[in-house]
């Protein structure tokens, strides 16, 4: 499927060295009690933690904490069927809600020494490394749009944005990045 929103964001993103679109991913939104979440993450080979706003990663799979009963599971695009099979087995008989949101969202990476400054142009969170360490993730707002923000490295952030907001968010980020570029 050709992603028109992603196509529209291309010119803005291409103009900015700090912001780049990430390849399509498998995204699953899982909601359930602690037992269901723990079973699901164990099946995917991920450690389970109840710590708020923390992402766990193992090789190419990640689980982002979005709420006490909610996790966003990210994996490479070709793992969708494998993941759903694993989860169906692990979650059988447990109350849960599992939704494939792979095409609802797209991802951007903001990187470089100024990454936090660029994001702070639209996001009011404290993105200092002490307040928002590597591995922290949360749903928040960027300008007028809702995003999921995940600090994937000291100088890089993974931004999940709903597809129809993608052009807007990339424009906001690219504009901020342009202001900061020498």
């Amino acid at each position: 499927m050709r992603d028109l929103s992603a196509a529209r964001q291309a010119p803005y993103v291409a103009a900015s060295p700090l912001v780049r679109p990430l390849p399509p991913l498998t995204r699953l939104l899982l909601r359930g009690g602690s037992d269901a979440l723990a079973a699901a993450l164990a099946a995917l080979g991920l450690p389970f933690t109840e710590a708020a706003c923390r992402a766990v990663s193992q090789s190419d799979r990640s689980a982002l904490w979005l709420g006490p009963d909610e996790r966003l599971l990210l994996a490479p695009q070709q793992q969708l069927i494998e993941l759903t099979e694993l989860l169906r087995e692990a979650l059988a008989g447990r109350a849960h809600c599992l939704v494939d949101v792979s095409h609802r969202q797209c991802a951007l990476e903001v990187s470089g020494p100024q990454a936090a400054v660029v994001l702070n142009c639209g996001c009011p969170l404290d993105l200092d490394a002490h307040a928002f360490p590597v591995g922290m993730c949360t749903r928040t707002v960027l300008a007028k749009a809702e995003i999921v923000l995940w600090r994937s490295g000291e100088r890089s952030f993974h931004v999940e944005v709903w597809r129809s907001f993608a052009a807007y968010v990339s424009k906001v980020l690219a504009l901020a990045a342009r202001e900061l570029s020498p």
């Binding site: 708020a52 709420g67 006490p68 969170l125 749903r139």
Partner: protein, 97 residues
């Protein structure tokens, strides 16, 4: 920007939150036994307090959870936040000027 302390996520900017009306309003156990007057009171009558008010808030652009807050309606200061189902703290943090 006003910071609100989400009981799950910690201090967050106010624009991640929405107000959810007055807190601690219990639905009558058996609505069929209520008079129209009692049912209307439950549905529509709300306190309009000048001072400390218990309210529901939702961290809609965050963890998505409802929680309760004690807010001073004159100063817009949040005195305490606590999870749904918990009792409001007896001695909320004193407002700082």
């Amino acid at each position: 920007m006003l910071l609100i302390n989400c009981p799950y996520c910690g201090e967050r900017p106010e624009l991640e939150f929405v107000h959810g009306g007055q807190a601690h309003i219990a639905r009558p156990g058996n609505p069929a036994e209520c008079s129209d007057q009692q049912w209307a009171e439950y549905l529509y009558r709300r306190d309009n307090i000048k001072g400390v008010h218990a309210e529901r808030w939702r961290h809609v652009h965050g963890c998505g959870r409802f929680f309760n807050a004690l807010r001073d309606t004159t100063s817009d200061q949040f005195l305490a936040t606590y999870k749904v189902g918990e009792q409001p703290p007896a001695q909320p943090r004193k407002a700082t000027a």
